[in-house]
């Protein structure tokens, strides 16, 4: 007898003995009826409301600028280039700081694993896309991490190259940008878009090595 049937019978007052016999033996019912349910403590809701409100104040400003930029893009061709360059710089700053943060040793990996079958499913429920997570003999996969770039959740895949770390960031692209390789602040960057996703690789390995990594990833 299922718990559901048992409950209904109980409510209708019928065959009380059958119900009793079932309840006594049904572990599922027993757990449901005897295990503790922890209700949220008083004050937790307020704490969450406060932290959400604090979080909201920051990105909203960024969203407003993004909206303003989009509006301007539609109007002015001359301004467009400037804004794109600026937003590219903002992204570069964000990507570089995420890379540097990851090197500080506090938060390199959320999911430390060289196994792509561990790292890939780890992103389930955290992202609304599923990144390819290959590993290469010369560039072994070290793990994954969740980041936020341009206000969107981003996958960070971490690869090793000798003593060097490569962070590859993947997130939804709002448009298509040309493939580009450049150096800034002593770090090397490669970015490309594919299937409406942004890919940014950043590292202190030399540019040819980073390009080789990007080529391997893209060929995968």
């Amino acid at each position: 007898m299922s718990c559901e049937i048992s409950r209904r019978l109980m409510e209708s007052g019928e065959s009380a003995s059958a119900v009793k016999a079932h309840t006594a033996s049904c572990l599922s019912c027993a757990i449901g009826e005897n295990a503790r349910y922890y209700e949220a403590p008083a004050g937790l809701e307020q704490k969450i409301r406060a932290s959400v409100a604090a979080e909201r104040r920051q990105p909203t400003r960024r969203n407003w600028w993004a909206a303003a930029a989009v509006a301007l893009l539609a109007v002015s061709g001359a301004l467009t280039l400037d804004l794109v360059r600026q937003s590219g710089n903002a992204t570069e700053t964000a990507v570089l700081s995420a890379h540097l943060r990851s090197l500080e040793g506090t938060h390199l990996l959320d999911v430390p694993s060289s196994d792509q079958h561990t790292v890939k499913p780890w992103f389930n429920g955290k992202l609304d896309f599923s990144p390819a997570v290959p590993s290469f003999p010369d560039f072994p996969l070290l793990g994954g991490r969740l980041e936020y770039l341009e206000g969107r959740p981003a996958a960070a895949l971490i690869y090793g190259r000798g003593q060097h770390i490569i962070n590859l960031f993947i997130w939804h692209a709002s448009g298509t940008s040309l493939e580009k390789t450049w150096t800034s602040n002593g770090y090397h960057f490669i970015r490309w878009t594919k299937d409406r996703m942004n890919y940014w690789a950043v590292s202190d390995v030399n540019t040819p090595e980073l390009e080789r990594f990007a080529a391997l990833y893209r060929a995968n």
Partner: protein
Amino acid sequence: MDPGLFEQTVLPHLNAAYNLSRWMTRNSDDAEDVAQEAYLKAFRSFQTCQATTAEETRAWLLAIVRNTCLTWLRKRGAASMTEFDEETHTDRELTPDGESALLNQAALDHLNGCVEGLPPEFREAIVLREIEELPYKEVAGIAGVPIGTIMSRLARARRRLQDCMTAKRATA
């Protein structure tokens, strides 16, 4: 987006979120921290949430809570989700029906302790299915595994609970 939409649709599931994180962290201080962190993550990715019903929103939130809990457990070096292997957790000998044995109150007194002693993958299944009373399909979605996997985890988890309660009653 309606500025208060997140609070209106996601905060009503706070008890479910806290109950899961309390069972997974096994203490109230960390449970609060983890629940709060999960809500912040949920807020950040709210734009990508495609839930249209309260049930879907709850499942979406609980998946984030669950992942936050597992990250927390992993950082503490507790049983790692990534190393969980369905095969190694198969019981030696399966009794025909774990539910047929009689449970008395003396055994049930040990229920909460026994649930806390389950490996995280079994514990989350029990908490979501038996304590939160979510449908199997929703539990499977939250844990990110096929429904058959959840069914077998639950069956083994119930059997473990029964063994645990019987053993504790015997030694009590």
